[in-house]
Symmetry: D3
Subunit: 340 residues, 6 copies
């Protein structure tokens, strides 16, 4: 089964506007512009490592939409499944992001209501899309954007599943889009279709009202639903400029937990998208060496760790760089200070 | 009658995002950020020349609203009559602007729907506002934004008028906000309250369906309504980088037209706001030397001409600079190449 | 007693020129420009938290003076008491600042001689100024600038005191402006009028020749003079990029010392003005909840801590942000990693 | 015949490094980085107007090669036929470009020897490439780079021709790569395969030693070789910041010359690539409406004219923008000053 | 007579601070920093063309002085005769410069009082300096700075003259430093020592009260004083972005006037220093081919013309570039659009 | 023996291109440009501390060569012994450098083949060069560039040695230029002429196959060759943003090892050139106070430590700053937080 895409993701593409590091949203003459979005970040992360990925989304038919399209392409995400909105009020969602420095926290202002993604529908796409990918991924953000997105996402999950596509889902709970009860109810309808499930410990407890150890919680999802893999990141925020990052991956078939030493004291340059980068590492691992869960976990952790050191929402890394980081992290032999 | 403000204006405040000169909206890493808005530009123009001005508007209660407030203040516009919107979907309107170079035209993408100004109402302000200013100004843009803005603006015009405030109104027709018939119907309800009326020849013909010479058209407005002054700008666009600018001002009481030699081959740096700058020059003239219409016209033309040479929506000039430009324009004696 | 200003401060306004972070004064093509000054920073700090503040100063009547005025306004400091110097040699003081990175120290080059502030005199202002504020603040820097500033400051302190204004004074000893003996003699003439006194432990020992514990020293000032409150900051410089900051506040009436856990390992972005930010937090606390000294101390520490993370001399923060930082610092319940 | 690409081009991809406008190569702290190359510019020009295009080239297998690939993709050029050079001395060619201002001329320094393109060979590509495109384009620069490029290009032209592909060729004579005699000899071997031929009047006279009027010269090529279309640009350089641009297109089958009023006094922002943009407009016209040579000429002229107003080697325009420019150039009815 | 320097100049070195083009001094976050000064610009202009030059000046012994020294060196001016001022109030003079765009004029704010150059004295230098150069140049600015500079300059002129050094002097009248009567009296004491005299027509008439044609005026100086060469520039300011520049050179010995077609419609990028660049071209001509006055005039005009197209006070050109410009200006044969 | 230069170094000068901190080589619009090169960095380091230094190299005769020359001069390196390559393929070597942040390592891409330095020969220089300096320095990089450089360097070492010049040599092993065996063979031919030898512990073990303690290894070099001084740096890389740096210096005559407390937790801004800066500190020490090896070691460590905190390859420090750092490092008395 030779499908043209390894991965398709569904989600909103946003313009990110950030003041230069150390400056505030409330002053200054300049914004750095980026393109991001949880599911775009995942697609790009997998694409930059060498697989063929695309995004399913709806963009405004204007200069901002073209900017988003061009940028996605430069990050190795194909745009064959981008629908365009040519209404007069078509708009690209925006978020403003200011980085932190202890004790100042990173700060986000969202301006993502009434955006073109909210007009997406199944009829924007042809049916051959559902047979075009080995894996489909979306997140709770897409479900939370509004009823139109929720219906479309739900239906797409079912259609892709029907075609034998691996379904990957990240809870990605955002309290400013919906509340825990809404999220729980909606996601529980999705879970019967999900193969790979990403959920943080906090969200599992606060949104899904799970109890017990993290390991018990992870396993419980696979007991309640036909989920194969549950992955959960573990981040310790020492300060906005220093995090420690690791994760646990549980495989239901083997009933095994995979872990490794976390990346300690990561030098944070831009933390945005590092959760999505984790997912991209995991999916890359599963799509290239399906049964090697240790390697999959290592990819997830390494891609997330390095994303934190790179400006922008999308990790701009490459396979050789990730392999070198994994190699050094496993601490095998002489380590040079510099790649040259 | 010692009122605390010489001028209050009512209108939407927008964030302007522009790529560096020569770059496109569809590429690049950076936006220059500005604050503008037709009525803010007028208030600022008058304020920077030395009078006390304020704006009546509604801003989101977030970092972008604070940025707008701080910027307005630095351009000498007081913020005592700014109302804040603390809804979760509060938003500051945006427009994206890319400058032109022949044959590429300047390009604007608006993203100003669903903004906080659309929630403005009379109840946001106390009644002492109506006695606080010598002059009140707004434009057709405010009327066109939506029903809430239209009602509020109409009622404010009446309240200010009742308190003996000079009413200034700029048609400022924007085909992407409403059509000519809508504009005509709405504005004709306002005109009975207007003292100073700004209308371009094109708009007079296409929106108000006027015929005859420009002089006849200008006069006709004062015959149909109790308008004292009608001003009309005349711009010739040689290329996006070179304009010629002049204007005609008609005073009904004296039944006289005022004109001067236009500013020829202006070096355009940023054309946005030069129409608003013209209004600010006219209002400054009328408020400081009410019966000297020649001087008033000279201020209007000079402030507009120099605005074209300055980045951003608001003219960042000063009284001595404008006086020097008027002096040179009238060509009196030796002219230095440089101010030092 | 409804005074139009909560706080007026007296002091010099300076232009700060800094190379981009990591660059040196001795090379490069660019300076970042800022406006600062010990007393302006205090006024702005209080103003941005929501009170009405103004500065008493003298600026050159040129483009640099206008730049300083515009910037002050954007930082919520009113300019009604700014006097202008239109002499041919009018000048705005400058300081050049280069940030540090261990073992390179931050480096300052001053160019603040012969500046317009040195021409300030009582006759620049009308007498209603002295009844316009609830609190007046100045620092030892103003006294040290020269005889004209010293006389003017001394007389203003007396005039404000006479009108029942709270007098706040920061020693702010600068060895490059005067020596310890000069400072001691001059300040001891001021202290009989001071209500709120800011003095670091080092200065207390080296300039005022105090001995004993810091607590004893603080108390001694209130025994020798009718001072109500003495505040003293405690900064540990781990490296130019990491400080720990706390303070002690002594209230003479209650004979009580207030302290809290310091902010540890602050990520220093720009350390300049963090002492002034501390004062602004203390004054904000005293002016909004006069008898709550614990809260006042928390405000002082939090505003100073966050200032260190923001580029420029003036803290560009807001009341909600400071309250959130205080809340997190007191460690009450779940803490999000990010404000969104 | 449903081929996956409308156009494939063969040529070197270069890194362009330019000081900011007004700065010199010999000073300053910064280079703006761009990607360009005559044939890449043609592919991108056609791709941005909406057709599917790709480039055949060889890039170094390092960060610079990845940068070039990502950038090409963002300019709508596919990279399926990019071969990678992983030798230790693999290098991306560079040229340094400084813009002009009368009397300073634009200045180029080339550093494009020993680059990876010089290792390109037929064996880098599979045979299905030759059936993948409706049109193939290359230029004399590729022939001039060295023997390996010359052989590869010559053979590819033959292979593509054999598969019924339209062959487009631009002389693009560069005196620093070869001399006129070499160029003439080499290109005359290619011409029997060429369908669309681009040659400036100067080159026709100086390199091909043609005589007579430009019209006679153009026709003569079609008499000597089975060329269908000859196009020749006509540029008048008033100053480095103002050009006039037009062209003549000759169609041999109809024995007709097509011309239109040139674009006069174009505001030059970046002149590089405007010749390639012309070709992209012509090819777009031919590929979308093959028999409409007037429209084809209009596209060529308009795309070239607007390219001059855009920074970078590749025109970043779109079909609607070009259509609007053509419309205005033909001067049909009311023209707005701005697109909004 | 093999002297180590071809040219030494005496004058103040200044820091220039400019907002980015199109921005104002009164707003924005950034200054571009440059080093300039009339006599430094002359030295650098001659040095960059290939002769050995140095400057005689006094700099503050701080980071700004080091910045000035490093920059001078990078512009090929030796610093062996730089004296350093290590007083606490040592300062580098500053001027703020904002460029113009019609009708906005370029604007300069000077802050050059109390600078270190005002402490310069003969005792800062050893006597071998006077034998070290073939030519010595200074200008009226140095004389106007203050009594200390005036005495030092006057005495240096005499000392250099005594050693057979060619004395070059530029009036460079600045109304903000002294008045015409002062300038006339002071300069007339210098003229007996001057060999090469630069004076504009306006200054000749307004300061020296000359009458008659420009030719008569130029000649009159050589009749009253033992001056060999008088040069006078002729600039027409069409707008701040377009000048025409030419000059007349009179040689007393041959009683001949040298002129050439002026450079018309120069694209002005930065006009500052173009008068000094003219002098550097003239001095370069005289020092390399003393009797070829036509060539000397061509160098003067070409160096000045190109300076206008380059950011900063010092022309960053080279001998080949100037020779190419002269060649093109004389319009000899085919002219390429670009240097490559 | 009054030689005009204290130090001459021989080596390649490179252009360094770096994305802004936090950005990647593979994206972004901008490169920061620097000039560097191991031996240039050493010369500049010594020159900026106050001695007279020059570089022996070959640069392309184009704008890039002029840029390199101008920059070297601004860093106090004389260019009297720079030879120029005016071949059509003359090129300046380039390296691209991206900084690191844990776990992302700094990354270098070299593009330094076929550069002008490879054409250097003895005949480019006159024999008086060999008597012009007190000390001559080069490194293993120069030897490794190619046979032409190797021969020239070897011969120059002998010529300088013959004239009584101190010979300094840094192994500076680069595995991408040659292998350990090649390096060992070549360098062992040089060592009989070397007085001051710089070699890291790693290189001593891996390239020279030394065994035993570092002290034993250092001593062994002086036993096998007539080397007076061996210096070896000791760097601990905590993360790309935090290093600890110290060194050991062995003097054979005194048979003594010199060491001091290392600089711990240096805030790394730009690590490139810090090894060369170390050498410059050592050579400065030896050339100014030859027998004071403790002071020499302190200079080496301090100059290297501060280099890490400065952008660019060359340390832009000064003697007073280094003395202050040494003073603080020795922890003598009160330490201010800031230099002002």
């Amino acid at each position: 089964m030779n499908k043209p895409y390894d991965l398709l993701t569904l989600g909103e593409v946003l313009l990110r506007l950030s003041p230069p590091t150390g400056e505030r949203l409330t002053s200054g003459d300049m914004f750095q512009k980026y393109v991001g979005g949880a599911e775009l970040n995942v697609a790009s992360g997998v694409g930059l490592l060498g697989l063929r990925t695309g995004i399913i989304t709806k963009l405004p038919q204007n200069a901002l939409g073209i900017y988003a399209r061009n940028t996605m392409r430069s990050y190795n995400v194909y745009d064959a499944f981008v629908s365009y909105d040519d209404d007069a009020d078509a708009r690209l969602g925006i978020y403003y992001y200011e980085s932190g420095a202890y004790p100042k926290k990173p700060h986000v202002v969202y301006d993502r209501k009434y955006t073109s993604i909210n007009k997406i529908s199944l009829s924007d796409f042809t049916d051959d899309m559902y047979t075009a990918a080995r894996c489909f991924h979306t997140s709770g953000i897409t479900l939370a954007l509004g009823p139109r997105c929720r219906e479309t996402a739900t239906e797409m999950i079912k259609q892709f599943k029907k075609q034998g596509t691996l379904i990957s889902f990240d809870v990605n709970f955002r309290g400013n889009l919906w509340n825990s009860a809404q999220a729980k109810a909606c996601i529980e309808e999705i879970l019967p279709y999900v193969d790979i499930f990403f959920c943080s410990e906090t969200t599992a407890r606060m949104t899904f009202l799970k109890e017990g150890s993290l390991q018990e919680i992870m396993k419980s999802f696979t007991q309640e639903y036909p989920i194969s893999i549950v992955a959960s990141t573990q981040r310790i925020v020492h300060s906005p400029k220093s995090h420690t990052f690791g994760s646990i991956l549980y495989h239901a078939g083997q009933d095994t937990y995979f872990e490794e030493e976390p990346y300690r004291s990561i030098d944070i340059v831009d933390r945005i998208g590092s959760g999505d980068a984790y997912i991209s590492g995991i999916l890359y691992g599963l799509l290239t060496d399906p049964d090697n869960y240790s390697r999959t976990l290592q990819f997830g952790n390494a891609v997330s760790a390095i994303k934190n050191t790179i400006s922008g929402d999308m990790q701009a890394t490459s396979l050789p760089e990730i392999e070198a980081i994994i190699h050094d992290h496993k601490n095998m032999g002489f380590q040079s200070e510099m790649n040259r």
